[in-house]
């Protein structure tokens, strides 16, 4: 069924009793052409593009919990493509362009709000970095413009006053096409569309082991039985090392808890997304009115999906430094995800060292914005066995050759 205002009105007359399922709950078959492990944004997007772009529909997405329940359901919903290196810009901007058409393509409102994002610079050095970054963006074909302090304050009038601030705002880098999207809607939209194309989404299905045949992986053992496929794509974010371990290899990944929180909902008070180079804090205001805030990692490996007070206090203190008028607002909800962090903060989209297995991981703290792009190129890799032209740099090999794509040091922030 196509969603639309008419459909909504029509169903209103029948008390909404006629809406069909968003997706089926099929039992897994014994064999597929491709298995995607991980029912988050990346896994679901991958399955969708496999079906839509490559006509491969005998696909199963295996999710150990409920679809979209991992990092996709826990992030701070920022989308942007203002990356420094051309490889990154290419991939993230593909993702942003796909986001721009996504609601219509999926027939599901992902609530993309391209309200702009400003990266704040607080010192001469940071302004120089922003300048280097802005010019890199333009040369990468991505929108980015430098703002003076006065211009930044027009966008963000509630920023701390220069004369008293510890980190006075001196300027910023604006990407107008950046913004936010509704995270759950992205997962549910892709799931519904993939399901409609014939993809089986199997929830509550955990991969417990890999099936080997000599030198290749030919399937998985799960809590719902054995499922075979010649190609298995792993899109499990913070759990990548766990699955890699089951398949007998290691990854250059460490998993950390990334905390985030929302305040109570207030009337519109923040026009765009803001990120501070000095404090590392980033925030936006959701359509419900809640301020959505993130910042630092708890700096020790964790699969707990929960962080501790010291890190949270540091993020809140950073927020107070930027916006001292938000001090009397209250934190309403707080949570954490498990993020797969890689040294150069760039993803791994590559065949695994074990035949039959493919990897889409290493997105670290920045996976949400990359869901459409990551899914698109991962589908290409799974379908053709060759990397997509926009993903050729994001291999495991770069860790051996040293050809890292170090966005962290390029931008001075790690996501």
């Amino acid at each position: 069924m196509r969603f639309s205002a008419f459909a909504l009105a029509r169903n209103a007359l029948t008390f909404h009793e006629q809406w069909p399922k968003l997706w089926r709950s099929p039992r897994p078959q014994s064999k597929y052409d491709v298995i995607v492990v991980g029912g988050g944004g990346h896994g679901l997007a991958t399955a969708y593009y496999l079906a839509r772009e490559h006509g491969i529909r005998r696909v199963a997405v295996l999710e150990k919990g409920w679809l979209g329940g991992g990092n996709t359901g826990r992030n701070t919903t920022i989308v942007r493509s203002n990356y420094f290196y051309p490889e990154s810009a290419g991939l993230y901007d593909l993702s942003l362009r796909l986001y721009e058409g996504l609601s219509r393509q999926l027939g599901f409102n992902v609530m993309l709000s391209q309200r702009g994002m400003i990266t704040l610079g607080h010192s001469t050095h940071q302004l120089e970095m922003l300048s280097r970054w802005a010019n890199a963006l333009n040369l990468n074909g991505v929108d980015g413009e430098l703002l003076t302090e006065a211009q930044v304050r027009e966008w963000l009038p509630l920023l701390n006053e220069s004369t008293t601030a510890r980190y006075p705002v001196r300027g910023g880098l604006l990407q107008r096409r950046a913004g936010i999207a509704r995270h759950d809607a992205v997962a549910w939209g892709y799931a519904r569309a993939a399901d409609a194309l014939g993809v089986d989404i199997i929830q509550n299905c955990e991969v417990t082991a890999f099936l080997r045949d000599r030198d290749r992986i030919v399937g998985v053992e799960t809590t719902q039985g054995i499922i075979r496929a010649p190609k298995i794509g792993l899109a499990v974010a913070g759990h990548s090392s766990v699955l890699a371990g089951k398949a007998g290899f290691r990854l250059p990944v460490t998993s950390y808890a990334l905390q985030a929180f929302v305040t109570e909902p207030v009337k519109p008070v923040l026009k765009c997304v803001a990120l501070s180079m000095a404090t590392g804090v980033y925030l936006s205001q959701s359509d419900k009115g809640e301020l959505v805030v993130g910042g630092a990692l708890d700096l020790y490996p964790s699969y707990a999906q929960r962080g501790n007070l010291p890190t949270l206090q540091g993020v809140v203190a950073g927020l107070m430094e930027l916006f001292p008028c938000f001090s009397r607002l209250r934190m309403l909800r707080q949570w954490a995800g498990v993020v797969d962090v890689v040294h150069d903060s760039s993803p791994i989209i590559d065949a695994a060292p074990v035949k039959g297995v493919y990897l889409n991981c290493g997105w670290g703290t920045g996976g949400f914005k990359a869901i459409p792009g990551g899914g698109f190129v991962f589908a290409h890799l799974l379908a053709t066995g060759r990397p997509h032209s926009l993903a050729t740099g994001f291999t495991l090999k770069r860790f051996t050759s040293g050809a890292l794509i170090d966005e962290a040091s390029a931008a001075g922030i790690s996501h």
């Binding site: 090392s241 290691r250 700096l299 490996p301 964790s302 010291p310």
Partner: protein
């Protein structure tokens, strides 16, 4: 928040400490004999276990000594603490 039993200072709170990676991590050498695969493994590839991990921590705002901890990365429970010079602790799976 986490609390550690520093082998030198006793029980202290999380903000005094810094995490320093999985142990044991043996630095390969001499460089001319180290394969690029082994060097990449040393720099980047980790077990990253979901469960018990052996790692080292620094009492940065205290005695500034490194020590070894066995910790559960799911519950954050700390199972044992030992000095750098002690033998590598057992990790019972």
């Amino acid at each position: 928040m986490l609390q550690f039993e520093c082998p030198y200072c006793g029980r202290r709170d999380e903000p005094e400490f810094r995490w320093g990676g999985e142990v044991p991590l043996v630095r390969p050498g001499p460089p001319q004999l180290v394969s690029e695969g082994d060097w990449a493994a040393y720099l980047f590839f980790r077990d990253n276990p979901k469960g018990l991990v052996r790692e080292r921590w620094l009492h940065a705002l205290g005695c500034r000594q490194w020590f070894v901890v066995v910790r559960n990365t799911v519950t954050h429970e700390i199972c044992s603490t030992s000095r750098i010079s002690d033998p590598t602790p057992e990790v019972r799976a």
